[in-house]
């Protein structure tokens, strides 16, 4: 497995190789995310992920099947559904976070800007460098606040104006004011909500293209949750965001598009599957599938 080879430069270059610094495009003209004049939020947007018939397995167990959807640039896409329906599996497949799990495999295709994420030429490290992830449980490194944010840029050779970069990331993560006077204190001394925002700052400091958030607020108090939700609205101008959430109000508040996953049964097998995907408005107000309607109305899950 030589997936860590970052320099494979192929003619049909899958993901531009090497530690290329991707400049984040200036935000698109302010099209409000919600449907405007009956136009769907995504219509004018480029697809960042084009996922076709994705299925994921842990050994012989199928956790997710038949998932086909597109995720659009500079939108917040929420993934909702009952627990165990494969939300984490899905989102972790997008940046190959599950590669290290023995027996994990995917079938189908995930195209990221036209490049096959699981293609033989794709580089797992490079994939994750462009597609950052924030986890359910805040996981700051046992380092100073500054070093938490500066660590990855240093690795990537982004050493110029590092202090500025750290400051910008912390500002964008709405944490700067709270930590600017103690940047060199341990990150472990921060509150849970601050730690989670630090993890977001850490992720955006390397200027990824996509931010994946797996239930980022589920371990936090309501105030911290609200501040993370506010963040989503600002961050989507710079990043494409996919957020898994257990909390339907949260999805309704932050997401432009919502994908509803549910558990399906085929004989003895139970696996997650995508039931419905569309504008958040539609999913919450006029879903076409009765399971979606039941779920968003809180009738199960």
């Amino acid at each position: 497995m030589s997936v860590e080879d970052r320099t494979a430069g192929a003619p049909d270059a899958p993901l531009p190789a090497g530690r290329v610094r991707i400049r984040t495009e200036p935000s698109l003209p302010a099209i409000t995310a919600q449907a405007v004049n009956g136009r769907s939020a995504h219509e004018t947007r480029e697809a960042v992920f084009d996922i076709r018939d994705l299925a994921a397995y842990y050994g012989a167990n199928c956790a997710l099947a038949g998932t086909t959807l597109r995720i659009y640039r500079n939108l917040v896409t929420a993934v909702i559904g009952p627990s165990g329906c494969g939300k984490s599996t899905f989102i972790r497949s997008l940046n190959r976070m599950n590669d290290a799990i023995p027996g994990f495999r995917v079938t189908g295709q995930i195209q990221y800007h036209g490049h096959d994420v699981y293609g033989s030429r794709a580089n797992r490290v490079e994939v994750r460098r462009r597609i950052g992830m924030v986890f359910q449980k805040p996981n700051p490194f046992p380092k100073s606040i500054f070093d938490n944010v500066a660590w990855a840029p240093r690795n990537l050779g982004m050493k110029r104006r590092l202090a500025d970069r750290v400051e910008q990331a912390l500002i964008q993560a709405a944490l700067w004011d709270e930590v600017k006077d103690r940047l060199h204190d341990s990150a472990l001394g921060l509150s849970g909500g601050q730690q989670q925002r630090l993890c977001i700052a850490r992720a955006i400091a390397v200027e990824p293209d996509v931010l994946l958030l797996d239930e980022p607020a589920s371990a936090l108090d309501p105030v911290s949750t609200a501040s993370i939700e506010d963040l989503m609205h600002n961050l989507k101008h710079r990043f494409t965001i996919v957020i898994v959430t257990h909390n339907m109000q949260q999805a309704a508040r932050v997401a432009d598009r919502t994908a509803f996953f549910s558990l399906d049964t085929a004989g003895p097998e139970r696996f997650g599957t995508l039931v419905e995907y569309g504008d958040t408005e539609t999913i919450f107000r006029g879903a076409s599938d009765s399971r979606t309607r039941d779920y968003v109305a809180g009738r199960f899950g």
Binding site: N95, R128, R130, G132, W151, A152, N155
Partner: protein, 300 residues
């Protein structure tokens, strides 16, 4: 009841330690009175002339253990990293226990192995090392036997390797998966994760593991006695024969020339116990400073 039992066990441990020190000091009193603290720096060891000094022994002990650590620490940490983070599960399941078994091989067997395999090998190695690195005094003129500090250092390295690798593997396994995933999600390579996250968060524990390995090397007698030559001399070159404190006692305790000779060996023993205690305290301090004592405590 259980508390009483534990208290008794604790008292027994303390009493044993106190008695060990007492026995060494009282049996060594003749040498202690005669040589005083000068014993620690005088190098001549001539039992026939009533002249004994532990200087060369302490030097040989420190030098051979240092060689052992220089070889075994990086290798052991590398093995620990491999077993905890890189090896496929099957390899891990086979190699892990094998490494631990290395620690269960009796030291006399390492002595045999050293004499039969290592000493001739080192003998072949010496000329090459000397011609390549001879400008460093460490690699002086080759001798003709292979019996040397280097051989002793290598035998000791093999003996402490399982300690360092098994302990560091277990330490690396304690690094939370969330931390490693957090680093990977930022596009870090495996090496960056190791260098930036795994090693820093286990550094103190690994340091303590190395010092525990050192403790083992410092006190090893039998295996070393096979390959070091038991010569009381201080040489800069690793190709020269030498002696260590423990090895000297093992070699000469059976046939002391006179009472003073015997007493001097008890004194050497006392010095060795002191060195061992200092090492153990050092390990605790290194581990304790970073609050990983508990980890070390549970795995060692």
């Amino acid at each position: 009841m259980l508390f009483g039992l534990c208290a008794v066990a604790g008292v027994i441990v303390v009493l044993t330690l106190v008695d060990v020190v007492y026995q060494l000091a009282s049996n060594g009193s003749e040498a202690i009175n005669r040589f005083g603290l000068g014993f620690l720096i005088h190098t001549a060891w001539k039992p026939g002339f009533n002249t004994e000094g532990a200087g060369a022994l302490i030097y040989g002990t420190a030098f051979s253990s240092l060689i052992a650590l220089v070889l075994a620490a990086p290798l052991g940490i590398a093995i620990g990293l491999y077993l905890s983070m890189m090896a496929p599960r099957r390899v891990r399941a086979v190699v892990g226990p094998l490494v631990e078994m290395l620690a269960a091989v009796p030291s006399i067997i390492y002595g045999f192995w050293g004499l039969v395999v290592l000493v001739p090998f080192v003998d072949h190695l010496e000329p090459g090392l000397h011609s390549a690195l001879g400008f460093i005094p460490l690699f002086g003129q080759p001798t003709t036997t292979g019996i040397s500090l280097l051989s002793a250092g290598i035998v000791l390295a093999v003996m402490v390797l399982p300690i360092i690798s098994a302990l560091s593997r277990d330490l690396f396994l304690t690094v939370p998966r969330e931390l490693k995933e957090g680093a990977e999600a930022l596009g870090a390579t495996r090496w960056e994760v190791i260098r930036g996250i795994v090693l820093p968060s286990t550094a103190s524990g690994v340091g303590a593991a190395v010092v525990l390995g050192l403790g083992r090397a410092l006190g090893e007698a039998i295996a070393v006695s096979f390959v070091i030559g038991d010569v009381s001399a201080i040489h800069g070159s690793v190709f020269q024969p030498a002696s260590t404190a423990a090895e000297r006692i093992a070699n000469q305790f059976q046939g002391p020339v006179n009472a003073l000779h015997l007493s001097a060996m008890f004194y050497v023993g006392l010095v060795l116990v002191a060195i061992g205690m200092l090492t153990s305290i050092a390990a605790r301090m290194i581990a304790g400073r970073f609050d990983v004592q508990r980890t070390i405590g549970t795995i060692y």
